[in-house]
Symmetry: C2
Subunit: 534 residues, 2 copies
């Protein structure tokens, strides 16, 4: 199902001072020159698994020549974000026609086997990283102007002429990021898979730290509030780049919908501009994002400046999105609340839970700001909303929360009700275990939602179980070849794409980078888990 919002005559409210603050915090990107490591070929097994075979070391590339129809795949050894350049030299007699190339960039090998012309999904085909190049003058020093996200680069010679072939030399990538891997101390776990999950998390986060926290570096390339919250959390335990979080918080606060609602997404090119997409859960996450930032940075000025808008996001929901039972009105198929991708997921109960969750952070913010009256008001709302959640959504017979008119049982609803602390810790724990046992058909499909599942397990005391689940999910992704964590991963159907083709999936997607946060925050400094690190 295509999911997007389009608002006619979209009107916004701007706080230029906030946008100026954000502009002043634009990071300088670090550059690093990366050379390809090897030349490979990609084989697809009947299972749809893609196997990469090394054919030769990349050092031999300059000795090879490529004629019409020839192609090769360069493996850069790891996920890259950057600008690629190469030299194409004519070999043979004087070239008597331009060279015509197709260059493809792929984060995962499967992308190379797909036919871009056949792509017909609902995401724009403009995201497919494929270029057609004419080289009129040879040798040509080609500096490709666009930024690509990739590990594999395929060059296909569509034509030269019978009089010459091409050699490719000096292929390299100027990798860019606002972060530096070296600044992060290794996790130091005994089990290598934990170290791997940590490293891949950090690499994912680093690749997505560009001018802002981008959600994906191949696709979207922009700032989403829900993603930002998780990126910031991973950042606090790794790169500790507070300025980038601050920049992003000021952006969301600096331009909102006319009525004060925060957009789910923010554009930063060519100018700062809020998207005309409101997602209730994403807007509400401004509260925890602000509190997290303050706790990590102790930056009181930012807390003070942005607090009113954080609270406003809650107030707007309380006053416009509830029915007279204190229950969030279900907007069904509209793109009104994200929670997770996943065909058919009903979001009513989950939205109720996120609102309760956000209020808890709002209460803490209000106390911090010396507004006990506001805090108390929010406390009262929280009680009412929790009671309504139980009254309307709890199904005693099934022992689970349901959602929507059809009383749908989903993983997502249970996880968010646990995170909202609708029940006490023990009953929440029972709910999680019961959910695992029942395994509702409406499953979680994104690492983003899996993060909240981990969070829910940990918060109700099931850290060991969370660790096992983490290994089963992110660990399995690594075993499936992830150099950076993917936007989408369904262990039950590893090769599906909700967009109709892996070519538009994002395979370095920051909302998937949270294992480093979970491992460093809840395990490494916890006496109970010293055995993992000694």
């Amino acid at each position: 199902m295509a999911s997007y919002s389009i608002i006619e005559n979209f009107k916004t409210k701007t706080n230029q001072d906030f946008l100026d603050k954000a502009a002043a915090l634009e990071p300088v990107l670090n550059k690093r020159v990366i050379q390809p490591k090897r030349i490979v070929r990609v084989e697809e097994l009947p299972s749809h698994e893609c196997i990469v075979h090394e054919t030769t070391d990349a050092g031999t590339l300059s000795k090879q020549t490529f004629s019409k129809g020839d192609s090769m795949i360069l493996d850069f050894g790891d996920h890259q974000v950057g600008y690629v350049s190469f030299t194409a030299a004519p070999i043979g007699n004087h070239y008597d026609a331009p060279a015509y190339l197709r260059v493809k960039f792929a984060e995962v090998p499967a992308e190379l086997l797909e036919d871009s012309a056949a792509y017909d999904g609902w995401l724009s085909k403009s995201w497919i990283q494929e270029e057609y190049l004419h080289l009129d003058i040879l040798p040509a020093a080609v500096a490709m102007p666009r930024r690509y996200a990739f590990r594999y680069m395929q060059i296909e010679v569509l034509d030269t002429s019978p009089k010459y072939a091409l050699a490719f030399r000096n292929v390299s990538c100027d990798y860019v990021s606002a972060a530096e891997m070296d600044t992060v101390e290794p996790l130091g776990a005994k089990e290598e898979i934990l170290n791997q999950m940590d490293r891949v998390s950090i690499k994912t986060l680093m690749d997505c730290m560009q001018s802002v926290f981008e959600d994906g570096v191949k696709r979207d390339k922009r700032l989403w509030l829900g993603d930002l919250r998780l990126q910031a959390r991973a950042n606090y335990v790794t790169f500790k780049n507070y300025d980038m979080v601050k920049r992003c918080l000021y952006l969301f606060a600096g331009m909102t919908f006319e009525d004060g609602r925060m957009g789910a997404c923010f554009f930063h090119e060519p100018d700062f501009k809020v998207d005309d997409t409101y997602l209730m859960d994403y807007a509400l996450f401004f509260c925890p994002a602000l509190l997290d930032y303050y706790e990590a940075s102790k930056d009181e000025e930012t807390l003070r400046e942005l607090y009113p808008q954080a609270i406003q996001q809650i107030d707007i929901c309380l006053h416009t999105m509830l029915d007279d039972r204190y229950v969030v009105v279900d907007q069904r198929d509209a793109f009104w609340c994200f929670l997770d991708w996943g065909e058919g997921l009903n979001k009513q109960a989950g939205a109720q839970a996120v609102l309760i969750y956000a209020i808890r952070y709002g209460i803490r913010l209000a106390y911090l700001m010396g507004e006990p009256g506001k805090a108390q008001e929010l406390e009262n709302w929280m009680v009412r909303l929790k009671q309504a959640a139980v009254d309307v959504f709890w199904d005693e017979g099934q022992g689970m929360f349901v959602s929507g008119e059809e009383r749908q049982v989903s993983w997502v609803t249970q996880v968010w009700m646990v995170l909202a602390r609708v029940f006490d810790r023990e009953k929440s724990r029972e709910l999680m275990l019961h959910t695992m046992q029942v395994n509702p058909r409406i499953r979680m499909v994104t690492p983003y939602m899996y993060h909240h599942y981990m969070d829910a397990l940990i918060r109700c005391g099931e850290e060991e179980l969370a660790l096992e689940e983490m290994k089963r999910y992110w660990g399995e992704m690594i075993r499936d070849g992830a150099d950076t964590f993917w936007e989408l991963y369904n262990p039950y159907n590893k090769y599906e794409s909700p967009y109709g083709s892996s070519m538009v999936n994002s395979y370095c997607h920051a909302w998937s980078c949270t294992p480093t946060y979970l491992l460093r925050k809840f395990y490494r400094k916890n006496e109970k888990f010293r055995y993992l690190f000694e």
Copy 2:
């Protein structure tokens, strides 16, 4: 049949002084900004004729918006050679994906109806004027870096996203040429078709006057000796740009095959380089090209400097390409002598005739240079070669010359035997008329060869007939929509392409520009044809 030459370990001889002289004569190109005139659609009739319908004035373009799958064709009103720029602006809500465009340039409307992916001819598909563009930041000021030859520009929006469409503004072309149309006095004929043929000739020549005399501005884009000779002749009666001819003559003389043979073709980018293609007729044309230049420019220094190599081209043929009967050895299917495209044309007798033709110019050059001994030696050769031509190739029964072992009768052979003056003027005239009557199956297919046919008719006193034939050929091309004269035109099969697709045909090809030369040289100043101009 694919026709090209590839010489392994090709060795050349360089006269750096000559190349430096050529470099110093590099022209400065004039630029002129051209805007599209109208928006059109193209319809193909069952006859394969393409009809162009105006849909609206180009001024309305900026008010139109284009979404995924939309396209439009801009008509620039005349043939252009230059650099195109435009602005693509997003219309709607903030763009949330790059724009992806296909831009096609076409000299004639038929090119727009062909599928580039289906092209499988022997010429490189890199000549097809089609680009795929990703625009990451919008609005985008797109300055396309390549030079295109076109009248029609098609922009197709391959994708945007549901959130925005595109508007295209400020589309324009920086037209470039070393020549200026305004400097040429109109022909002033009474019949408009003659003025049209003259104007289209001059436009063709002007478009092809770039850094050198290019053969075609869409395809090849380089200097061929046989084409240069005709371009220079048209130039002497129009733009009178002697320096460009001089530059090109010095190029051919400045780098040759190791044994002194001149290449048929010369590259000027990125450096000066002779092609590894030797065509006997093209090399021999250096003699008439030099004499023509001297007669037009009176530049004695160039004559003196280049004369030895002109004579050398004849000497090489006399000493390496004849059998003991003084007959040029038939190299059959090798790419050894051009004369004309045309399936199955045997070139032996034509090559003999071109050699005789070149010797006549060589004799005049030798006298000019005060070398009567050399002139006499060449006179002797001419007599021998003419006699051999009659002995070996004349078929009394058919009343025509034959060529090759299979004794092929072709138009080309007769035309060149007339231009070689193997017979006297009256017998040549009879031969031409007889040939027209018989109409041999092996016909002429290029305007280049048609020029020589016109020349032959005029030289044997059939100027009126030549004028009729010129109108039937170049005039018909104009009626078929030529804005500039085409590389190939077969009045018997107007929509054929020897390359498998019109997309790689060149529709502004300088070897077709000679009607202006013929009209101005043989008719306008001839008392006998005063009636055409008064």
